[in-house]
Subunit: 383 residues, 2 copies
Amino acid sequence: MSVTAAKGFRAAGIAAGIKESGNPDLALVVNDGPRAAAAGVFTSNRVKAAPVLWSEQVLKGGQVTAVVLNSGGANACTGPQGFQDTHATAERVAATLGLNAGEVAVASTGLIGVTLPMDKLLPGVDTAAGALSAHGGEKAAIAIKTTDSVHKTAVAEGEGWAVGGMAKGAGMLAPGLATMLVVLTTDADVPAADLDRALRDATRLTFDRVDSDGCMSTNDTVLLLASGAAGVTPAYAEFADAVRTVCDDLARQLIGDAEGASKDIRIEVVGAAGEDDAVEVGRSIARNNLLKCAIHGEDPNWGRVLSAIGTTSAVFEPDQLNVAINGVWVCKNGSVGEDRDLVDMRYREVKITADLAAGSASAVIWANDLTADYVHENSAYSS
Amino acid sequence: MSVTAAKGFRAAGIAAGIKESGNPDLALVVNDGPRAAAAGVFTSNRVKAAPVLWSEQVLKGGQVTAVVLNSGGANACTGPQGFQDTHATAERVAATLGLNAGEVAVASTGLIGVTLPMDKLLPGVDTAAGALSAHGGEKAAIAIKTTDSVHKTAVAEGEGWAVGGMAKGAGMLAPGLATMLVVLTTDADVPAADLDRALRDATRLTFDRVDSDGCMSTNDTVLLLASGAAGVTPAYAEFADAVRTVCDDLARQLIGDAEGASKDIRIEVVGAAGEDDAVEVGRSIARNNLLKCAIHGEDPNWGRVLSAIGTTSAVFEPDQLNVAINGVWVCKNGSVGEDRDLVDMRYREVKITADLAAGSASAVIWANDLTADYVHENSAYSS
């Protein structure tokens, strides 16, 4: 499965010694062709990590033959040295595999503001190149984990072709994009422009609608590589649907493994005047710390939903708002609705429906609860 | 001290039985004149509590003779019944004290979405009226507490006149305004227009720059009442300075008592192209959950400061950003600066300086760390 579910790809995941723990920390994904079309989307944070700056340039050519990813260090806010390190990493991959460095994407994840141990990383590239395998997708997915408790892979199959992918991400998850590294591969023969369109359409509705903690990363990278090895060019709609299915699956896995979370919160905003309104309201609800705490405590505190909606510029009248939690309309017309004691919150997934009563647009945002474990994990991360 | 530091005011704080705990929950502040000039600022949340809707109307007349405040229930999202309850409360105060209900402001705080127990509140108004005293300011300050661990009062004295005040607020603290009820009084003889100007100038730089948890309340109310009992009209600048001093003092007390907080974080943004940029950046830093967790863990994780700055629209270049934590410039030119091990974070107050290197404007925002205690307190609040 993972990035080697599609034909024409090899992958590896090894321990280069970047992480002090000795856990796997370097992944390599190689596209053996015959095509090397690619598309990518990156964080909209204006403070971008060196590998993001590098890979954005690489993707402009629409060709990617290899992706090298490391955990154990984000290589963000590392100045000119950081960029040189990313460049050297791509060059090493190119030299080892006989590729053009300008077609090697680089992604990093881990602590911001620390330079990478290149004396370990570069030899690690050679080791990873030697370990490349058409069954290496799983190991690659494991090597990109940071605080993830499980590795994340997904696959969608067409007739004679497939889209597979791996993702990592557990904290600093917020729109534009959620903090994540994602590599998707397909053996379908799809030109770069269509890959780009399918990837943007998919991420807009999946990774961009995940908000674990409102914190936007410096390193988000989502890549889609096509080998053409299946010798099939599916209809665009069919292909885009498969990409979206895999993105949706991986995004849901990210939320399900968010740092310290005990609840996954599905926020559906309906009755909005437009999709932008629905997304703005959904994100405002998703980022309300007080509500996130209440959900953790299995408390259907709909007042906190309304106070979050009230901070937005969406079209609505306060006395027409309706809110349901797990199907119980605890708030009707901006005031007390059905008995809150009817709300059953024992399960991990919690559904909040916010009806703005202002139109027919809607959007779904996924979030998590806020827990003491999140605080613990993030107050100790860099030490 | 408190609201009775200024001459011409009486106050009371009693237990009306609104809170199940039996703790004080009803405060009354009366202006005995000879003047009754007043100004108020209210939450900018579009979902406003009934007492906010009522008091906004009252303040339009620029005259307030009494303020009645209850804890134990916010009377927000309570529909037409909630507004009727607020109206009835003002009427009861007016009837008991022989005042005009249109000059009685009402403020409430507590859980959203629950109607007030009027059978307890209205008799409580009578009890409070009977307990009014020129020394009742302290008791009034105690009666408006919710999750506050201490009551908050402040005073500034001019020549022959004074400004005093009380505040409550511990959670749902965010700009526009921070979740709070504040009543300020003065015996200076100041017309309503000047009160309004002084209050808006002061709150913009104090309560509006406090951000405990990014959550904007439905009930924020800050009132300034002038009795004129001192028979003195100070120079405007002198008066405005006193109002700001009291607001600053109370705002600092709010941050110092924020729910679950173990650190008070003073975020100073310097080198900004304009004050709006400085405030936008300061708030983005103040609301970054990951940074708030790091500060809790005494971890000078400046990368999280940069990732927060990167989400703003302020003028800056990523490779020119500088960040100091407690005076140590851990980030220079967007990259690694002085040794982070030099940062001493043992004390409660933590200073973050973010230099945008884009101009000469600056702003200070106060925030708190994010702790397991905050999660605990807010996952159990309504149950």
